[in-house]
Amino acid sequence: MSITVERIWWRPLDREEKIWVTIALIWCLGTFFMMPVWHVIAKQNTPNESYKVSVDDFEKIVIAFNEKYKVREESGVPVVHPPAGSDIYLAGTGIWQWSSILELEAGKEYRLHISSIKGGGDVAWQHGFSIVSAKFNANFMIVPGYDYVLKVTPTEAGEYGLICNEFCGIGHHLMAGKIIVKG
């Protein structure tokens, strides 16, 4: 088995190699080019608005929000019906629950702020905000200390599951809530 490399190995590519590299390069640049282009023309992109916020401040806001727009309760969790176009707030809690059940209206835009709070527990964990339903799935990170603003326009009425898909401790798999969209 000979290991030695030829003395001069720097030489031009053969025809097939040139063809392949050209195709591959165009393909790669094309797929790259589509990334910013799709961001501009597509209707569903990762949000670009976020802020720093203390865990306690976000919890204050969530409590005030729940209090102001609560319409009823389900299994002890407030169902909250905020006005269209408003800032709405949802948090994953330190006791592995979602802070409310949002009741939204189809066709209306909302500024949904997501973050992590203690909510009765000792620690505000990282969570995975995961909306799951037969036709729709969207996932965003919930990070304590950060307010992530999602501009959301629900399009179809129904009940959407809300689960956590970022490991956050022993109660992780019990975190299940929902978001209701009224027609």
């Binding site: 720097w10 720093k52 976000f58 806001i61 409590i63 209090e67 006791i95």
Partner: protein
């Protein structure tokens, strides 16, 4: 192809320390340093503005402070673990 030119290109590829330096510096700048700067310079949320918008409606503002405080307490109870 000119042999000298080939050998000088090869020397570049044989430059272990140059490759090492670029391999550490380039991704550290593009990913780490740029990312840390973005995280560090993130603006603060305007908490008072948010709280202002969530104040109870005008007709309820006549409610005495004690009642407003107890309106907050049930919220804390619903946050407490039920299981």
């Amino acid at each position: 192809m000119d042999e000298q030119k080939a050998l000088s290109w090869q020397a570049l590829y044989d430059n272990m320390w140059g490759i090492f330096a670029l391999g550490i510096i380039v991704p550290t700048l593009i990913y780490t340093v740029w990312g840390l700067i973005e995280i560090a310079t993130l603006p603060q949320m305007d908490v008072s503005k948010a709280m202002e918008a969530l104040k109870p409606a005008v007709s309820q503002q006549a409610v005495p402070a004690a009642e407003a405080a107890s309106a907050m307490a049930p919220e804390a109870a619903t946050q407490a673990p039920a299981h």
